[in-house]
Subunit: 205 residues, 4 copies
DNA sequence: GACTAACCGAGACGGTACGTCCCGTCTTAAG
DNA sequence: CTTAAGACGGGACGTACCGTCTCGGTTAGTC
């Protein structure tokens, strides 16, 4: 019965006033996904969102600054969970798994959300900052770990510019996602990884 | 190969009525660039654009379908001119020159226009089609020619998926342009080309 | 065929642009009366008014500053017409007719409009100014003329404070209209005039 | 004529629970006057009032039904006290004193409160009822007593419609208060009383 | 001294209307 | 037949308040 760890500090002074409504929160999240799927990101607007969720507009404005923030919140929890570092034994295998998994996610509604957020980020820089923080950063870190592990295992060259490699690794996926000129299928991910690996492998002595 | 006629025929029977005002056209083009620089793409709207250009709204609606079309028109002429196929003698050199030149363009206001158009394309698919047609297609063709020339010259491997290579070649540029996490400088283009070339070169026997 | 008089100067330079819609104007006027009767002045709001009239909100805001101004416009034309100076031969008869006619108007929806405008005037001084100008001024002028005619005819005393008498003449009507403690009927108007006349008649030598 | 018991019985079983906060009550009264003076009646709203008084909104809603009720409460005590029946010896003198005193009150913030309440009464009939009960009734009663005393003393005519005379007596004050076209000064009150008295005095045989 | 009841401040809630902005369409007089 | 001007119906914006509801906490009886 000895409480060893406590996530929330017990010292927080509870303020008076009605608590935030969990029910409203969930209704908003749900309505956001629905509207995104039905009307696309451009079809979402705060008024329709509030109507659909059965919620006052102010309740939305109280907790989010813009619709991008809402969309981000819907997918951020999901995104956070799906980025464990794989360990298949080889850099190629790890990269392949990471890219494969990403494409699977982006082929769902989440892909639509991501492109919409990148679009919004072009107009509102703050969205860009938040997007990088929530959806880009940890995925890049994952690949950084994989690559460094590969260097340690002498699987790939030492003198690689990690950041540049990570760019080259992820970029084709976003490029296709945004330009929609070709699909994000398994063949694609395999070829990207193959091409990249040829530039990374340590030359045999 | 002998058809020298231009697309807009000079033989068309001239209909009566006032001609399109060149002055208004130029004022709109000018106002678009100004507003894009001052307020960003989100700050452009037809009403403000007409006011700034000293033009009636109808004049804009008569000639363009949406603001993306206007922005596209401003930068399309410029883009069209800057895509001759270079011939430095080597694939590496050619690719380097292409990428270098692209980044130079994207580091100007044109870069802002491009990201805005990609953003708009996420909402309006027709913008996506037009954007690929006007800004992507010919640049990809350029690289395709360079690569095929490289294959013929046995400079690079035969069994490469050209489309995939072109994706991997251009993607990092757009990735950085849209996410803004790192600059589009000369070091960057060189490293991208180097990394890619390692995956393309024909292995020595 | 010789045009002798022109109300509007012929020199006005006609500006371009669409003309004000007479149809919308009339729909707004009609909707205002309807809403006033159905819901009272407090029940009128710009949004409902626009909806009822089948008109954009901006069309209302373009021509009127507040709902009081709209209500005023509905009844001002009507009010303007009903203030000819009567001439029954006696001051008593003239005053009686004026007061009687006013009460008849105020016993219709116009009465509701008037009280609402006076109410609004307590909050927005500009409404007060406009109200006095449109609904009070000319009626006071009418009585002023009647009284001066009575002085000239030696019907009433010379040394009367005209403004004060006009106040005392009209005040009871508005007092009852606003406090609603007693009706505005013919008995009332007659008694007011009788009481006032006793204070005005020239004492017999 | 022997029932000496008060209306509020002292025998009521006291319910448990915290008592009404006198401090909050006074803060609300104070804030109401302040806001009325600073922003006018239209500028008062429950939210701002609660903020200004440092009080929860619920505390206001618990004790009053609308803002008119609050304003009424602020000035009702004051009004109740100032209506003793004067006795100067003559009807003229009594009336003069009553009117003079009323105008003095109405020339303070109380005048603003009164016009605001009349305005509100036009929208909410219940406010009208309460207003007449609290601010009109007793003042009319005062004048009724004065006039009846005058009749008994054969100072004024017997055959006067008392209610009509009371209307004519008070009406000009409210008329000027609401229309603001002329001041409520001593000259005004004297002239009103003079004019009225001429209509009331018993004709000399 | 515990229990209960009514109060208090704070503040989130579903709503309604505000006045503004901009959309894309239309109707003018002028060129 | 185009142009600048500008009114039009429409729809969403973000804000202000409405009156209600829940919180944690306080105060005054009653048991």
């Amino acid at each position: 019965m000895s409480a060893e760890v406590e996530t929330c500090s017990e010292a927080t002074k509870l303020s008076p006033g009605r608590r935030r409504s969990q029910q409203s929160y969930e209704a908003i999240m749900k309505a956001t996904v629905e509207l995104l799927e039905e009307c696309g990101y451009g079809g979402i607007n705060i008024e329709a969102l509030a109507r659909r969720a059965g919620v006052g507009k102010q309740t939305i404005y109280r907790w989010w600054t813009c619709k991008a923030a809402i969309v981000m919140e819907v997918y951020s929890a999901q995104a956070a969970k799906t980025v464990p570092v794989p360990d298949t034994g080889s850099v190629r295998g790890d990269l392949q798994q990471v890219l494969q998994q990403l494409c699977e996610v982006l082929n769902t509604t989440a892909g639509l959300a991501m492109t919409s957020l990148i679009a919004e980020a072009q107009i509102d820089p703050k969205v860009g900052v938040a997007f990088r923080e929530q959806f880009i950063k940890s995925r890049r870190e994952t690949v950084r770990i994989i690559l460094q592990r590969g260097i340690e295992r002498t699987e790939i060259r030492e003198n690689v510019n990690l950041e540049l490699v990570i760019d080259t690794f992820y970029a084709p996926v976003w490029y296709r996602l945004l330009l929609k000129h070709a699909p994000l299928d398994k063949e694609f991910t395999e070829e990207v990884v193959n091409l990249l690996m040829q530039g990374l492998v340590r030359e045999k002595a």
